[in-house]
Point group: D2
Chain length 282, copies 4
């Protein structure tokens, strides 16, 4: 499915600072980048990197003296997903291909302290055998127990804060979902991207759980159709895939994000418990 995405950021830099941006769409196999452009104004040296797993594309910009600059990105992308029958995944833990790529997603990370919520996870979800239904129950629990509240959290908010405060934004919902999965030995990873029909438009965060050899997509916010995402990056959590990691002292003046669907028709896709279907971008 074709989407046109764009983002426009402007920063005021108060002292020498380094930015690592992560706003370009991923060149993962699940999506094809048809065209894209990146403009930094004023022109500044830009270093590009990709993550070891190939999922994330970083732009590093070093600003040596106080200034204001903007970064504009746009891309046209063709995404691809499949719908899987998840009725079969009744194993207590996922077995297929639990290899070098997947292991790190079992461990606790900066914002997903799965080690501290094992008892809670077992208590709430330990009785569900089917892995897909277990993760679906996790997303429902988050949806029902955490209030979506803009501005209620910040860049240092983590899953254990959200367990306590019971409020947050998409990033916090994703972190809590990941932490609960890992606490139950289910590998889970952060997903950040552009999202069609997200109101108001912004970068979006969700998560994927590794079930039966596939990364199945979940969104505890229920804010967007599951088939309307364009991937920027995966990672253990937002630490791996922050829109901007900033070392220094800066002010963000502007952040405008957009995602349009270029297809004539778009059928929004959502999970239903009765169907036990899993959507996987691959």
């Amino acid at each position: 499915m074709k989407f046109k995405v764009s983002s426009e950021l402007e920063y005021q830099v108060l002292m020498p600072s380094t930015f690592i941006f992560n706003i370009q769409v991923s060149k993962a196999s699940s999506q094809k980048v048809i065209e894209e452009s990146l403009v930094v104004n004023p022109q500044l040296p830009v270093e590009e990197f990709i993550s070891a797993t190939g999922d994330a594309r970083f732009i590093r910009i070093r600003i040596k003296k106080p200034t204001t600059f903007s970064i504009n990105y746009q891309a046209t992308v063709d995404t691809r997903h499949i719908i899987l029958d998840e009725k079969r995944h009744s194993d207590e833990v996922p077995v297929d291909k639990l290899d070098t790529d997947v292991i790190p997603y079992l461990f606790p990370s900066r914002y997903c302290q799965s080690d501290r919520i094992q008892k809670l996870a077992f208590k709430e979800f330990g009785d569900i055998d089917n892995l897909y239904l277990k993760v679906l129950a996790i997303t429902e629990w988050i949806y029902n127990n955490v209030e979506y509240l803009s501005g209620s959290t910040n860049a240092s908010t983590s899953a254990i804060d959200t367990i306590t405060e019971r409020a947050g934004v998409c990033r916090d919902f994703a972190h809590l979902g990941i932490a609960l999965c890992r606490a139950l030995s289910i590998p889970a990873r952060y997903y950040t991207g552009y999202a069609y029909q997200l109101v108001p438009q912004d970068f979006h965060a969700c998560f994927e759980a590794y079930i039966g050899g596939n990364w199945i997509f979940f969104d505890p916010t229920k804010l967007v159709p599951l088939n309307g995402l364009v991937k920027i990056a995966n990672g253990r959590d937002a630490a791996d895939a922050a829109v901007a990691s900033i070392y220094g002292n800066t002010i963000c003046n502007k952040m405008v994000v957009n995602c349009e669907c270029l297809e004539k028709e778009f059928n929004p896709y959502h999970y239903e418990e009765s169907k036990q279907e899993g959507l996987s971008y691959q």
Copy 2:
């Protein structure tokens, strides 16, 4: 330099549990494994994996019903390190080869919340230009301001706890060193291994900072000679390289660790500020 290392662990398992052990020596280029053996008693299915970066070797054991089991490991290893002149590294940030391998070590992680201590790091170490001296100052600061106190911390203790409590063990010292480096845009990673002349014998934890294109070794505990280490694994922090990640309910009955030097002579190596030398295992 040749070392003989061994570890012996015994666990009582109270409910179905999964163990991921990380006690085998690394097959990194800095050391050659001459011989090794691993015995699990009673015999249980053992899955082996290596991490994506090749640094860590994991053993996964799933125990389906309550029991007691032990795991015995021993190896003979030949290690290799070089001593580098670090006087030249006066750059504000490291530039060489800041590639896909290194980027994740700039980001905050489970136990190294570098994002929350940027002001402290700049205040204490911002004025030191030479990168090696900056990291050496970090290790000295930790050594002088944090008390080494067995049993004062646990598996959920992180760098910000140590900044507050000012007490910990080698793992906590390493986490704080890593967090302070990353807060200053210096990539840093966790190092866990067997350590010669560590009293009492135990697994040891240190860290490496990426300076001038090399991973330079640092140990804020000052408990062992820097040239007496045998690597088990690197990682972002202990979450990547825990001796045992356990999903379930178990009791550790026994943990015996040993490291002997097989050389006729061993000259312990320590840093001196005046020499500005860096030791790198490579």
Copy 3:
């Protein structure tokens, strides 16, 4: 009801230290001290204080050089409680006598960060109108969702840690109960005392909620009969009523606690939801 209580503590003092002990039974109106004795060995100057509210009796001992000392206390006490009909307390907030004594018990405290769990409290207990049933539901929720696990927590563990980790001891159960009450505008206070039929014998911690003008007693651990307590102190939380607040560096060598009933007969009293009775020590 008559009880004989005793405690015996021994400390090794490593550097000049100040102890504030809180092990003597309270001289509150709810209990009469028939006889008591306190022996410090070796003899040391002992300062005695009572708290502003009269509920707690403190002993301050300053040790000027390294030594070992013990403190032995015993008392015979006659306690008094009433059983109240709590069916009537359907008010959304308690109204009678919300005066200077009660107000501080509405505010968050060291171990009871009620300000951070308001959403959780409203979500779980907001629908229950009757105040007594609301607090009873809180104690049931804690009993069902938090595992009683000796040694799982320490002196810095607070209610938000317990919300996360879901394990703790009586002190942690009490702190969580207090925090949930205050989050719902119900004044609540910590209660520490000697407890008959507690196995193994130790100091015990519970809490009281202010309902309909009385401090109603609750114990989320369900470990002891509600009518077998001898009060040491009330306070906002354990910070006000720690067995020992220690400023310095010491090791506790020994802590032996005992509580016997001197009556011929003892009918253990527990709450039942259907009866809606509240026990109040007064």
Copy 4:
């Protein structure tokens, strides 16, 4: 010294909520209230309480349905302070009159977790014998190591957050000062008031340490003259003396604070290390 103070607050109430305001000036012996007025618009039932120590005056307002209301307060106050010679206070701990009023100010509280920073406090300030110089060193350390940064913290920020983040506002500076004092066995309490020459005008927070039998005033922000304060309340920390403790869901639309000096002349008073003078409001 005569001051005229005022505050004007407006709230939008989204669901049934209870407010406890603490904006009226204290009727402590250190200041005389010449005249004052309080207007709530629309008129609502207002309950007034004073704290057990008499230091704080609370106003409780319960709003039963969504609405907008404002509260306007103004007062004319005559304050009184003395300047004490603090050279004599070389005792390791304060001895005079360590009675029922003072003990609670030794214990950790919601925002001042003194129990967790004892090692840091001893390391930084343990060598200073004179109590006044010790607390002055604490205020200087905070001033030099914590950045005053509006909007950097929120209502749940506590002393251990500030030790980590090294940024905050007056409330955070006061909490850290209190926590460090208590960690060193010096009773310390929160002070909130109106402050002359504070730019921009707002409620201000400072702290008092109990030295030689007097509550000596300290302000680690150095934002105002020490003799220009009009007390609203003392307390263990902001939990006891929050401008507004709100149980419910509300939005603050407006907060305007003012403090004018009615004297012809005002000589701003600040501490100098060489003079060793302590200012005490009494």
